[in-house]
């Protein structure tokens, strides 16, 4: 398998997970099955549900998560690697270019606040500003895009971790958010190497969470919250235990780990789903999205890691042309540019 195939696999896997997961967002698994899947779990692109603020968008439309990842890759390709400025350029491009309105409309609160800070928008003082911690924004908004740092650092986990902090800290200056970002970047970095096993990938995720947290503690805003590292271990235990039982796997994962917007839920659960699916791209994505809650984000992270691990050759062919067309994104072109940088 070529490096290009892994880069493309990660991008397509990420886009599938994000686009398929988007309509399932906010619901628990039982409602996804009952309401959205008409008695079955969802294994394809479906219409946005009636209560979504975004209606009548084409099937296969990705959400903010993939859009910011894609634009970050475009900027990193231009810059020849991960730089802080390129990461910031991508944030502004997505926010301000009308062309991307369908994605920026779904920007999460943590990103919105982080970007406003970069823009120098002054906010009225709130009591939270005085605290030595910020427990409000320990979300996956950093981890959902940090996978691209793994593509740019194949086999170099330490650099992937450093780059993920460089990329994400401008808008997500929070130790737990950055621990999640480093975890995903480290896992993708190792998944990019020939001969890596699934356990190598998962161990990289655990090490990335720990190292990312430790590094961020020196520079980022602190936060109190559950440990991503410890929760990954439990999530993987659940994934292995229920690898043969789709429903039991997602139920136990959501019941004990959670798949909510906080990085200490979504990131650990992704490793549990990867373990349950043996790293298979589509199965990892199906588990992640049907677990619900922040399903477009668990979907993108699971798809990115499994896609890098198994390569584009393992993903059904229909997805790449569909996702590229619907979202007007040159996924193949960007994958080629990135592969030239890391070659």
């Amino acid at each position: 398998m070529t490096q290009y195939d892994r880069i493309l696999g990660a991008m397509v896997g990420a886009a599938i997970g994000n686009a398929m997961g988007a309509p399932l967002e906010t619901r628990p698994p039982y409602l996804i099955k009952e309401e959205l899947g008409k008695g079955e779990y969802v294994r394809d692109y479906i219409e946005m549900p009636y209560d979504s603020p975004l209606q009548h968008i084409p099937l296969g439309t990705v959400s903010y998560d993939f859009a910011i990842s894609y634009l970050s890759l475009v900027e990193f390709a231009k810059a020849g690697g991960v730089t802080k400025q390129a990461a910031i350029n991508a944030l502004f491009e997505l926010k301000n270019n009308e062309k991307y309105a369908v994605y920026s409309a779904r920007m999460d609160q943590a990103s919105a606040v982080g970007i406003e800070k970069l823009e120098g928008v002054l906010h009225e003082w709130t009591p939270y500003d005085d605290l030595p911690v910020d427990n409000r924004y320990l979300t996956s908004s950093a981890a959902m895009k940090s996978w691209v740092c793994g593509l740019l650092n194949p086999g170099n986990m330490e650099k992937a971790i450093d780059d993920s902090i460089l990329m994400c800290r401008p808008a997500h200056d929070n130790v737990i958010a950055l621990s999640g970002a480093a975890s995903i970047a480290a896992a993708v970095s190792v998944a990019m190497t020939a001969g890596a096993s699934l356990s190598d990938v998962i161990e990289a995720g655990i090490a990335g969470a720990r190292k990312g947290y430790d590094k961020a503690m020196y520079i980022a805003r602190k936060a109190a919250g559950a440990s991503i590292e410890e929760r990954i271990k439990l999530a993987v235990e659940i994934g292995v235990k229920y690898s043969g039982d789709f429903e039991k796997c997602i139920t136990e994962m959501t019941d004990l780990i959670g798949t909510g917007i906080n990085a200490n839920e979504a990131v650990p659960s992704v490793f549990g789903f990867l373990a349950a699916a043996g790293g298979d791209v589509m199965q990892s994505i199906y588990l992640a999205i049907n677990a619900g809650n922040d399903s477009d984000t668990t979907g993108i992270m699971a798809g990115a890691i499994a896609g890098a691990f198994k390569g584009a050759c393992s993903i059904p062919e229909k997805h790449l042309p569909l996702l590229s067309k619907v979202n007007d994104m040159d996924i193949e072109g960007v994958a080629r540019k990135i592969s030239q940088i890391v070659a």
Binding site: T26, N135, K222, G225, E229, T254, L256, G258
Partner: protein, 338 residues
């Protein structure tokens, strides 16, 4: 034998001790708490300047215990068991006190604004509002446990009524019922701390099912019942290892704003400390994140379990004088009413 009145008194006292001790450590990480205070916090300390509650004195409770207190006052004044009207009256009276309204949580704020007839702009209601699966139901539901001594099902029913006013989703309600059920169970003579945990699991399951039947909104999040069981398992495994239990429960279960973190954490701490009246509270106070809420909830349960006699008199004097309370009288009034 510990009398019913002593247990009610203990519940009130435990909850207020937990809330006021935790007020100083709230939000911070475990390490930050240790650094800030130069060790574990096991008494009443001055609030750091960064805290929301400006001008607070040692022993002063926060939004957590005060909401239960105001609700109890409304019930006692009206001689009315829990119903919608007293729940709302307690809530509005509580919120009229500027001391506590400044620290009201996100979910409670929205409800109060609506009850007062204010327009609350909301982008668009989704079927599941998962950001409202918070511990604001659990933090006040302990009080109904004290109004239902030994009657776990009665406590669950009252917790649903009380908490639906602000936290009308299946998971936040399940969490509230867990705390209320365990506090009610604590009144049974000869009950062990393990049965308190079982009552919590029972309350969480029953509360979830009843909430769904009553039409509470569905939500995505962890299972309160299953996470109580996991938290208790961790706590039991780390008995006599205070630091280890606190760390493992904080790392895996979490002690944050979400109902499925802080409510299960309460039971993990009870398991680790074998239901001890003060140790359980100390673990919650030093466990980081939403410490005052976790400690307040734990205090209702272990306070009723051990009775007021488990707390040195100095606690009562400080709590009463800092807050203008007479908790012994309130306990006697509740005992007389039920």
């Amino acid at each position: 034998m510990i009398t019913r009145k002593e247990r009610i008194f203990g519940g009130l006292l435990g909850a207020s001790i937990g809330d006021s001790m935790g007020a100083a450590t709230e939000f911070m990480t475990r390490d930050q708490i240790r650094e800030w205070f130069g060790g574990r916090v096991t008494t009443y300390v001055d609030l750091p300047d960064h805290m929301f509650l400006k001008g607070a004195v040692k022993g002063m409770v926060t939004d957590d215990f005060s909401i239960g207190y105001y609700t109890a006052v409304a019930m006692l004044e009206k001689k009315q068991k829990m119903n919608d009207a007293v729940a709302i009256e307690g809530l509005l009276n509580w919120n009229s006190d500027p001391l506590y309204s400044q620290c009201a949580g996100p979910t409670t704020r929205i409800t109060i604004a609506r009850l007062r007839g204010e327009e609350v702009p909301e982008k668009q209601e989704r079927l599941c509002m998962n950001q409202r699966v918070t511990n604001g139901g659990g933090m006040k539901a302990g009080i109904v446990g004290l109004f239902n001594p030994g009657d776990v099902d009665g406590a669950v029913a009252d917790a649903l009524t009380m908490c639906r006013t602000t936290h009308d989703n299946t998971l936040a309600l399940s969490a509230g019922c867990a705390i209320a059920a365990a506090a009610a169970k604590a009144f049974e003579d000869g009950v062990s701390y393990l049965e308190l945990i079982e009552a919590g699991i029972y309350g969480a399951e029953k509360g979830f099912a009843r909430a769904a039947e009553l039409g509470a909104k569905p939500a995505a999040g962890c299972s309160i019942a299953k996470k109580i069981a996991l938290a208790a398992e961790i706590g039991l495994r780390h008995q006599d290892d205070f630091e280890g239990a606190m760390r493992r429960i904080g790392d895996i279960i979490g002690c944050g704003l979400y109902a499925y973190e802080s409510i299960p954490a309460v039971f993990g701490f009870i398991a680790a400390c074998k239901g001890h009246a003060l140790d359980t509270i100390y673990m919650a106070v030093n466990g980081g994140d939403d410490t005052d809420t976790v400690a307040c909830m734990a205090g209702y349960i272990v306070g009723a379990f051990n009775g007021a006699g488990a707390y040195p008199e100095a606690h009562l004097n400080l709590i009463n004088s800092a807050n203008g309370y007479d908790l012994a009288k309130m306990a006697a009034d509740i005992d007389a009413m039920i």
